[in-house]
């Protein structure tokens, strides 16, 4: 028996999310009195691979074949399922991000495994196996019983944190044999937004809503984000109006984020918006309407005009930093 965790890489590197997943898998392994096997697909060097053993992975399986340089859902699902069978995995752990959403459900069907997505904590009990997750976009939690013998969990971002437990790593290479049909999807072109901190990776997010009055007033949002080392975001109307690109839209139908601090400037806080940001540790809201619902979700609030509060905030931070 084992707990298998799938690890994605970004240009051959892991990131905080990867270590959080291994920590979480290790937490489950301790509950089940078993060990963690980490599976990496893609070109990751040995030293980078071994880093995950700091969080409890005692065995690391590496699939290092250029065929897997691009995400092909079918091929990835086949490899992960093969490894799960070989390692007699009873629980599989994935990230709750785009890759997890693309691949884990296919694995679930292959292994006839019940799935809980966006888990917010370790299983409450393992026999019966019950995991808590958010439903109704954060308006409620559901405790879900998984009845199948193999279970699949995707972890909500920043829900568990990092927990070190150094293990002696064993690295094994694996060369899967897959049918040609698994590679039916091919990537023609990739367009990356270079130099931008990913919204979902950012500890600090600075966001603007319709109260910003127009795209030409976005400079202070960018400036504050740069000053704090954060990422920029926006509300749905702003993305729909074309003031900002869609990948910046946070909210129920956009990105769901869980940063340490979320700044909302000129965002009224519709329930759909709050669904995307309610997992933020601290929410700071600035809005000219004292009755705006954003203040019910916020930890710190300022009733005022963003056009004056935002520059004042930037100036104050610059003074502190001595710029």
């Amino acid at each position: 028996m084992s707990v298998l965790v799938y690890l994605e890489n970004w240009d051959g590197k892991f990131k905080k999310l990867s270590y959080e997943l291994v920590s979480y898998a290790n937490g489950i392994a301790q509950q089940l009195n078993t060990s963690v096997v980490a599976l990496s697909i893609g070109n990751v060097e040995g030293e980078e691979l071994k880093k995950v053993s700091l969080y409890g992975a005692s065995k690391i399986i590496a699939v290092n074949d250029p065929k897997f340089d691009q995400l092909v859902n079918q091929a990835y699902a086949s490899v992960i399922s093969q490894v799960a069978v070989n390692e007699q995995a009873s629980v599989l752990v994935f990230a709750g991000n785009m890759t997890g959403k693309a691949v884990a459900p296919r694995v679930a069907v292959k292994l006839k495994a019940g799935m809980v997505t966006g888990a917010v904590a370790l299983p409450q009990t393992t026999d019966p196996f019950v995991v808590k997750k958010k439903v109704y976009t954060g308006k409620a939690f559901a405790s879900v019983l998984i009845k199948s013998s193999v279970k699949i969990i995707t972890l909500a971002q920043n829900a568990y944190g990092l927990h070190e437990q150094p293990a002696e790593p064993v690295v094994e290479q694996f060369s899967p044999q897959l049918p040609e049909k698994d590679f039916a999807t091919t990537v023609i072109e990739t367009n990356m937004l270079t130099g931008k901190l990913l919204l979902t990776d950012a500890e600090i997010v600075v966001s603007g809503g319709r109260g910003m009055k127009g795209p030409e007033f976005w400079q202070p949002i960018e400036e504050l984000a740069a000053l704090l080392g954060g990422a920029t975001a926006c509300s749905r109307p702003v993305a729909d109006e074309g003031w900002r690109p869609h990948h910046e839209h946070v909210g129920q139908t956009g990105k769901i984020i869980a940063p340490t601090v979320y700044f909302a400037f000129g965002i009224s806080g519709a329930i759909q918006h709050l669904g995307g940001v309610s997992s933020s540790k601290i929410i700071v809201a600035v809005n000219k309407d004292k009755d705006a619902p954003i203040f019910e979700a916020a930890n710190y609030g300022v009733v005022g005009d963003v056009a004056t509060v935002l520059p004042a905030l930037i100036k104050c931070l610059k003074d502190i930093k001595g710029q």
Partner: protein
């Protein structure tokens, strides 16, 4: 080319969630039901594609798993422009169950492109589309934010961490779509609403499939502590609180 959109019937996204007294369910009395927002955008895009490419797209169908209460949602899809619809007559027990039911129904009714919204706003599962593709043993492309069929060639754009990719795949396939596939849902016209009454809605009896999960109980989130208000003329105090009290900057 035939397009199928899988619909989920969900409570209006502004619904205040109340639990049943035993907390084993959500109290659905008085709830307004809508087409799941992502499914509605998928349908809107499909209708646009058919209007622009009438010689390429011959039919748009919709399918849902649900009891008779889901019929108005299918009729709404008809009013928007779907041509016909199917309701698999079973309560949607879990994602595996729903995907398996859809797959069984689709096996005898082949489509070229199957669109699923990336998640449903009630269970937030993000799983049915990719599960369906696996049951059908066809490719799935996830996080799709653009789809085109110009000249009969399928163009797909998907979001990846920090960027976008144009991808190619073989038909049939499942596109799991997100925001961007369409900006606003299509509004039903009066003519569409009239036509919706007579469009064919077929009820399919479910296959024998067991769900793999079940909800044991629900709980509501704890109330947040009150927001600390800072005077707009005293931004230094806000910075001080964020730095020394919350310790987040």
């Amino acid at each position: 080319m035939k397009i199928l959109i899988c619909l989920s019937n969900v409570p209006d996204t502004t619904t205040k969630i109340r639990l049943t007294p035993d907390a084993k369910g959500v109290d659905m009395s008085g709830v307004q039901w809508i087409i799941n927002p992502w499914d509605e955008l998928a349908l809107s895009r499909a209708i646009d594609l058919k209007e622009k490419n009438p010689s390429i797209i011959e039919k748009i169908s919709v399918m849902t798993v649900g009891g008779i209460a889901a019929d108005p949602t299918i009729r709404k899809a008809f009013a928007m422009g779907a041509d016909d619809g199917f309701r698999i007559n079973a309560e949607p027990l879990d994602a595996y169950f729903v995907a398996a039911q859809l797959a069984e129904a689709i096996k005898s009714r082949p489509y070229d492109i199957i669109l699923c919204g990336i998640e449903s706003s009630d269970t937030n599962g993000c799983t049915v589309g990719a599960m369906l593709a696996e049951f059908l043993d066809v490719p799935s492309v996830s996080s799709v934010s653009f789809l085109d069929v110009e000249g009969g060639k399928v163009g797909i754009k998907r979001e990846v961490d920090g960027g976008y990719q144009n991808v190619n795949t073989t038909l049939p396939f499942v596109a799991v779509v997100q925001k961007g596939i369409a900006i606003e849902p299509k509004i039903a016209t009066m003519r569409g609403i009239m036509a919706a009454r007579t469009k064919p809605l077929q009820v399919i009896e479910p296959a024998a499939i067991e769900p793999l999960t079940e909800v044991v109980n629900y709980e509501l989130p704890q109330a947040k502590t009150a927001c600390k208000m800072v005077d707009a003329a005293n931004i230094e105090q806000l910075v001080d609180m964020l730095h020394n009290e919350a310790r987040v900057i």
